[in-house]
Amino acid sequence: MNNNPQLNRDGELQHLLTTEGLPISILLKILDTAESFVGVTERDIKKVPLLRGKSIFNLFFEPSTRTRTTFEIAAKRLSADVVNLDVAASSQSKGETMLDTVNNLSAMHADMFIVRHSQSGAAHLIARHVKPGIHVINAGDGRHAHPTQALLDMFTIRRYKKDFHSLRVAIIGDILHSRVARSQIHALTTLGVPEVRVITPKTLLSNKVERLGVQVYHDMAQGLKDVDVLLMLRLQNERMLGARLPSAEEYFKYYGLTQEKLALASQDAIVLHPGPMNRGVEIDSAVADGKQSVILSQVTFGIAVRMAVMTILMGN
C-alpha cells in the first residue's frame, strides 16, 4: 500500500492523485503532450476523436463549477462523453456513502472519474476501490493535492521560463490549507527547481513544511528578492473568521502582491494565480491585470494540460 498508488506495475500512470512521488519522466511527458494539445485548442474545430466512446464522470463532492468546467471542456475536446454529478447535492444526503456512489457509477461503465472532495485522501480511497481499468483524477482533495492545477502551473512556467534548473520560485499565501501549494512544491522540486520558497504568516504555515524541500519566509521583501516566478495562493475568506488573521486589510498590507512588492522580485518575474482571485486581498488589480501576470494563459493551458492527463491515463 505504501508504494506509489498512482502507478501500475509497469510504472505507468494509472491514476493522477498527487504530484508527490511522480517520476520526472511522467511529469515531462504530461507537459510535452499538453504542448501538442495547445495546437488543437487554437484551431477552429477544437476537438480530436481520441476518447470517442469513453465515459468520464465529473464526481464533485465539493461544488466547484469552475474546476468542473475545465475538466468538462477538456474531456469534450477529446470527444469523450461527460457526465457531471454534483454529489454534494444528491446521493450523499440520502445516506449513500462515497464508495457506494462510485460503485454505482462504475456499473454504468465509467472509464474515468474526476474527483473533487473536501477531505484529504478521498481520491486515494476511490482509486483503491475502483475496478482495474478505471482511472481516477484528483481534482482537489481537502488540503492535500490538486495535481492538474500544479501541472498547468508548471506548463505555464516552462512556456515563459524554459529551464526549471535556474529558477527561484516563491509560493505566497495560505500554505497550511492549500492543496495547490502542496502539489506545486512536489512538482517544482521534482522538475529540478533549485530554490522553492514559501512566504506566509506563521498562522498559515504547516508544521515541518521545510521537510518538503522549501525555505520559509515571513517577510515579503526578503522572500521576493531575486524571485523569477511568483505563485500566488487564494486566501479563503473564512480564514478571517477565526484567529488566524486579524483582517483582510492587514493581510493585504503585508502579504498582498502589489506592484511595489513585485518590483522586489526579478525584473522579468511572472505572476501566477490558480483563481478565483480575491483582488485587494492577496493580489492587487494592477498586478493581476499587469504585464507580468500570466494568469489568463494559465486558464488556456489548463485545458491542454487536462487533455494531456486524460489521454495519457486512458492510454495506459
Binding site: 504542448e35 501538442s36 488543437v40 474545430i45 492510454g315
Partner: protein, 170 residues
C-alpha cells in the same frame, strides 16, 4: 534484401509531382519521415503556400490498443484549408490507417477542395480503401518487416529494414 536509394527515389518522386504543381497546391507532411520529404519537396518544387505538418496521433484508431504514441508533436497547418488543394506526404504507405487519421485531422482544420497522396514507397498491405497519386517505387515486403526512413546528420535520407516488434508501430 537490397533496398532502393532514398535520395534517388526522392528525385524520381519530385519529377512525377512536378507537372501538377500549381500556385494553389499545398504540401502537408506527416511526422516524422513525411515531414522530411515534404520539406525537400516544398523547396525543390518551389511551392509557394507554406508547408503544413501533421502528427495524426490524436486521430489514430489504435489508441485503445497501444495508448498515446510516446512523443506527440504539434500539428501546424499555416494556410487556409478551406478550398485548398493539398498533397499529403508520407514516407512509406502501408495499411492506409495513418492516411485515414491524417485526412480526418485535415478536415478538422477546414474543408479542402481536394487531397492527394504522395509517398516515397508503397509497400502494399492496404487495410483501407486508400489510393496513392504519386509514388517513388513499389516494393513487396512481408508483414513482419518494418521499413523506416531515416535522416542522417547531413540531411541525407536513407531506408532501413527492421523486424517488426509491434504490428501497430507503423
Amino acid at each position: 534484401m537490397q533496398l532502393p536509394n532514398a535520395e534517388q527515389l526522392l528525385v524520381e518522386l519530385t519529377e512525377k509531382m512536378r507537372p501538377d504543381v500549381a500556385t494553389n497546391i499545398a504540401l502537408v507532411g506527416i511526422y516524422t519521415g513525411g515531414v522530411w520529404l515534404a520539406e525537400r519537396l516544398h523547396q525543390d518544387l518551389g511551392i509557394t503556400l507554406p508547408l503544413g505538418v501533421l502528427d495524426s496521433s490524436f486521430y489514430r484508431d489504435d489508441f485503445d490498443q497501444i495508448g498515446l504514441h510516446s512523443q506527440v508533436r504539434s500539428s501546424n497547418i499555416p494556410f487556409k484549408v478551406d478550398g485548398s488543394h493539398i498533397i499529403l506526404i508520407d514516407d512509406v504507405l502501408f495499411t492506409g490507417r495513418t492516411i485515414r487519421a491524417a485526412t480526418n485531422e485535415l478536415f478538422d482544420h477546414g474543408r479542402p477542395a481536394s487531397i492527394r497522396l504522395a509517398a516515397l514507397i508503397d509497400r502494399g498491405g492496404r487495410e483501407l480503401p486508400i489510393a496513392i497519386n504519386y509514388v517513388g517505387t513499389t516494393i513487396v515486403l512481408s508483414e513482419d518487416k518494418m521499413l523506416a526512413l531515416e535522416r542522417n546528420k547531413n540531411g541525407k535520407l536513407n531506408l532501413s529494414l527492421y523486424d517488426r516488434v509491434n504490428r501497430n508501430s507503423e
